[in-house]
């Protein structure tokens, strides 16, 4: 067992736990945001750097702080480790920089995008980013690609989190989907638009934190916040059959997997459940789904955020040399969002 302190809150965790998992055990607002880490996918994480934290004390034996912010999803805890997330202004500034980099090539077409309203990147930018962009150059542009007849890939929006690649690798068999090229020209590809016809390929829509992979059967049908999520299940021979239905009126517009409080899919569902069963009679309704953290659907999502930020500002002022901290750009000014 190791004792780790995150933002002043201590928790005892088993050895080998990552800082992110330890933070999730504590829960609440101190959990670092994640884009590429997914608890159900092995070897995910480490690409996006949004979950960075500041380690102010390495361990009980070696109390030196770590020289740079570390990715909490990949760094394991040590006994006596002290970690700062929200309480470190430097770290929040660094995270704002990460968000700015993620948004460099991401088009600001949220009014068009189907993911808007339940988009991890949208939430991340609202909560940790800056209001404006300094980028003045053309963004990457790709033609839209159809992956099979039900999934559309819009590479413009991709942030290369590799979640869909891990899904294709670990959930489906016979992998035909990966990342080609490197660096600035890297893109998700199916090797010359090979159709993916696998029973579980639809799960890559759910794991995509942005609107790069979208459900073509739901395309432009409705904005997310007009639909009502309901948990439902059915007897399915291929998958667990536990899904979330998105209703508009009496009509099921979309079927997705269920997500946990961190927006990560809990049960993989098969394509038949996802794309074919769009009638209420196909399902046993359990009740309205509780959308907690990952969506504007939850009431006053950004309002509670404002309160949190005001609270952080108060804490910051209490820090030593607080008056010297210049965050600049009004990045965390609640009135500026």
């Amino acid at each position: 067992m190791a004792k780790v302190t995150i933002d002043g809150i201590s928790v005892e965790v088993p050895d080998g736990t990552t800082i992110l998992q330890a933070a999730r055990m504590i829960g609440g607002d101190i959990v670092p945001p994640t884009m590429c880490y997914h608890s159900k996918l092995k070897t995910s994480g480490g690409y996006c750097r949004t979950c960075i934290v500041k380690v102010t004390k390495g361990s009980e034996k070696d109390p030196r702080p770590m020289p740079k912010p570390v990715a909490s999803c990949r760094t394991t805890v040590m006994d006596g480790m002290e970690v700062q997330n929200l309480t470190s202004p430097d770290l929040l500034e660094a995270r704002a920089g990460v968000v700015e980099f993620l948004l460099i090539n991401h088009p600001l077409d949220c009014p068009v995008c189907d993911q808007a309203g339940e988009c991890d990147l949208q939430n991340l930018a609202y909560e940790n980013g800056k209001a404006g962009t300094r980028y003045e150059f053309p963004r990457r542009e790709f033609e839209r690609i159809d992956i099979g007849d039900k999934i559309q890939l819009h590479m413009n929006r991709c942030i290369l989190c590799y979640r869909c690649v891990k899904t294709a690798d670990q959930v489906t068999d016979g992998r035909v989907h990966g990342v080609i090229n490197r660096g600035d020209v890297a893109e998700i590809s199916t090797y010359i638009t090979n159709a993916i016809d696998n029973d579980f390929s639809g799960n890559m829509i759910d794991v995509c934190p942005v609107g790069a992979l979208t459900d073509k059967t739901f395309r432009f049908k409705s904005r997310v916040w007009y639909t009502k999520p309901m948990d439902a299940h059915c007897k399915c021979t291929k998958c667990s059959g536990k899904v979330r239905l998105w209703y508009k009126g009496e009509e099921v517009l979309r079927v997705t997997g269920r997500r946990d409080q961190f927006g990560e899919v809990t049960d993989w569902i098969c394509n038949e459940c996802r794309f074919e069963k769009k009638k209420t009679s196909d399902w046993t309704i359990e009740g309205p789904a509780h959308i907690d953290r990952d969506s504007v659907i939850s009431a006053n999502h950004y309002e509670s955020l404002k309160a949190l930020k005001a609270d952080i500002d108060r804490q910051r002022k209490a820090l030593p040399h607080g008056d010297k901290v210049t965050l600049g750009h009004g990045a965390l000014d609640p009135n500026n969002q």
Partner: protein, 201 residues
């Protein structure tokens, strides 16, 4: 039993002789009528004459097109969310190849309706619009005989390329100062580096 203590008993009084003649009363009434012939009339003969309106007047909406003549609206639904009267409904559709000159983004509103009877002309739709597509203008919503005619579709809302609607009247310095935080970078393309703003600005 009286409900209040303010009730008043009405009695019919017998008319006097001069009142029974009726002529003085008729004469008195005609005097009032004729006197109005020589007074200034407050009636404005709309639409030949138009009343002067305040610069912040909010009238019938317009859905603007961009400089190339493509519709700006992408059916994002934020105006409908912002609308306190729930007057706005829309349905979106995907732009097909070859329609790039008609719609600016890959999604557009195939149906866009504002119920002018529900609308309270608050201007929140204009404020919410991220694409600078919807504006309230200085035009008065015409009256009609049926309720159905007051639901304005795209045929009445979208401006034509031949006769663009001027929306500059309300875009006064104070309004622009209020809107200054809405820096619409995404409404700018890199092909034409100048900001995509209204032609009339």
């Amino acid at each position: 039993m009286a409900l209040t203590n303010r009730s008043k008993t009405v009695t019919v009084r017998e008319l006097t002789w001069s009142e029974k003649l009726y002529l003085p009363a008729i004469f008195k009434g005609m005097m009032i009528t004729f006197s109005h012939l020589f007074k200034r009339t407050p009636t404005i003969k709309y639409p030949d004459v138009k009343r002067e309106i305040a610069p912040v007047y909010r009238g019938q909406h317009v859905l603007k097109r961009d400089e190339a003549g493509a519709e700006r609206c992408t059916a994002c639904g934020l105006c409908a969310v912002a609308c306190p009267a729930e007057a706005i409904t829309m349905e979106s559709a995907e732009r097909k190849k070859g329609e790039e000159n008609l719609y600016r983004e890959e999604k557009y509103a195939s149906i866009y309706e504002i119920n002018m009877l529900r609308c309270i002309f608050c201007g929140l739709c204009e404020e919410a619009c991220p694409k600078e597509a919807i504006f309230l203008t200085d035009r008065i919503v015409p009256s009609s005989f049926t309720r159905g005619e007051e639901v304005f579709g795209k045929d009445k809302l979208v401006e034509t390329t031949e006769s663009p609607i001027d929306v500059t009247l309300r875009q006064r310095p104070e309004v622009l100062e209020f809107k200054k935080d809405k820096r619409h970078y995404h409404n700018r393309t890199f092909k034409d580096a100048k900001p995509r703003i209204n032609k009339h600005h």
